[in-house]
């Protein structure tokens, strides 16, 4: 089947079998490898992408289902909201607070954080924990991930309230 999906603001047109998941479509058809497969049965969250602004698991969506939806992957996450041009505030905070080790769950964590901070600009640590509870990280024990997201939230709210947006 020929399908068209908006990924990171590009219209991707590819011929795929209906059985191809959005995860495999992004990785194999589009060639963006930043979205990772951890379990392929919906439990680990490594494959998380943004669909119309909300975090979803790309292994639990068929590519054909997402025709008409707007998908953002880790590669596109800084395009809408980039201060330095390279990394956005959340990515920067993950670097600074070392919210990762092996980096395998990281894309999913960052996109989940994106979705959270869009609707809750000043979450408590508990709210952050709840929001990322569907993303398993085996390396970090989550503490530095929560630190990263709290730092990002703080910076985002400061940026949003200060008149000078630099």
């Amino acid at each position: 089947m020929k399908i068209e999906i908006n990924i990171n603001n590009n219209i991707e047109i590819h011929e795929v079998e209906p059985r191809v998941t959005l995860l495999d479509f992004i990785r194999d058809n589009v060639g963006l490898k930043g979205t990772h497969a951890g379990c392929e049965h919906g439990v680990c969250g490594a494959c998380t992408v943004l669909m119309n602004g909300e975090a979803v698991r790309s292994c639990l969506v068929l590519a054909v289902q997402s025709m008409g939806d707007k998908i953002i992957t880790i590669e596109g996450v800084n395009s809408e909201d980039s201060e330095s041009g390279l990394l956005n505030i959340i990515q920067d905070a993950f670097c600074e607070k070392h919210g990762l080790q092996c980096g395998y769950c990281t894309s999913g964590m960052i996109l989940t954080a994106e979705a959270l901070l869009k609707v809750n600009t000043s979450p408590t640590r508990e709210e952050v924990r709840e929001a990322i509870s569907g993303n398993i990280c085996r390396c970090t024990g989550y503490v530095q991930i929560v630190d990263s997201i709290m730092l990002a939230a703080d910076r985002l709210s400061k940026r949003n309230t200060s008149p000078d947006k630099s």
Partner: protein
């Protein structure tokens, strides 16, 4: 872990859905896919056709008509959580929904999908049973109505005809002035499928008299069930009495046991959680 091949259709009307279902004996409806996709990927389910009902007209609506709340099967769990109609009239459902998986699951997962999936630990089936929901199903040209408590037959087993499509879920709106509810469950990790869950709704008339008490239990049995609590009418209700009544009502019920949680454990926990749910419900109506 890749699905076996299948075809895919995306009909826009219920008629078209039923047409596909009738013509393809090995077809399955795809709603949010949060239960179906893992089954497909593990090849535990092998349909030849998937009928995506996400774009069927009216399937995403939530409407109050008279004393009934009608919910389309494609209403996403995350949307339901934010619905003001549901917040006003079905607070028990609102209490239960945050226990369904994690936020990203609820963004895609639907109410209809969860009901037809009939996981013994499903929170939405439990609420449907507890509140006396009615499922409207189209099978070919036939419209069928099935009461929630007649719908669930066993783990992942329902009275759904193989070529049926759930197109509407109706919940009765309480006719009493005050309702109180409580929902508690316990799982190994916070968001796992529950070992035991309990849903309680209490209705009170304008004179402060308790008119109905509904208790549903899930997770601990093969399918969610309503437990008849009797013997509260005559006496003033208190938690101690309720706990006794619950224990009595559960006496002859067989609980499920596995390596995650033994049957005896599930039973004790059900009693404890039911008490907590009752306590919440009674507090909400100012009774205790």
């Amino acid at each position: 872990m890749k699905p076996a091949p299948f075809n895919y259709e995306r009909p826009k009307t219920l008629d078209a859905v039923c047409d596909f279902l009738a013509k393809n004996s090995n077809s399955l409806i795809l709603a949010g896919g949060q239960s179906l996709l893992p089954m497909l990927s593990m090849r535990l389910s092998r349909p030849s056709l998937l009928i995506d009902v996400a774009h069927v007209k009216g399937f995403e609506e939530i409407k109050k008509i008279g004393n009934t709340i009608n919910i389309g099967p494609m209403v996403r769990q995350s949307v339901a959580l934010e619905s003001s109609v549901l917040k006003n009239h079905l607070p028990l459902l609102i209490k239960a929904l945050p226990f369904v998986g994690h936020p990203p699951i609820r963004v895609r997962g639907t109410l209809g999908g969860s009901l037809v999936q009939a996981d013994p630990s499903g929170e939405i089936p439990l609420v449907a049973v507890t509140l006396g929901a009615v499922f409207h199903i189209r099978d070919g040209n036939d419209n069928i109505e099935i009461l929630a408590r007649d719908f669930f037959l066993g783990p992942m087993l329902t009275a759904m005809p193989s070529s049926g499509c759930l197109y509407k879920i109706s919940f009765p709106v309480s006719k009493y002035s005050k309702i109180g509810c409580g929902f508690h469950e316990i799982a190994s990790r916070k968001s796992d499928y529950a070992f035991a869950s309990t849903a309680v709704q209490i209705e009170q008339n304008e004179n402060g008299k308790i008119e109905t008490i509904s208790l549903g239990i899930g997770g601990a049995l093969d399918y969610p069930q309503v437990i008849n609590i009797s013997g509260y009418n005559e006496k003033k209700i208190n938690l101690k009495l309720l706990k006794e009544l619950i224990s009595e009502a559960l006496l002859n019920i067989d609980f499920v046991g596995d390596f995650h949680a033994s049957a005896s454990y599930r039973k004790r926990v059900t009693i404890k959680l039911a008490s907590r749910s009752f306590s919440d419900a009674l507090k909400e109506i100012g009774y205790i």
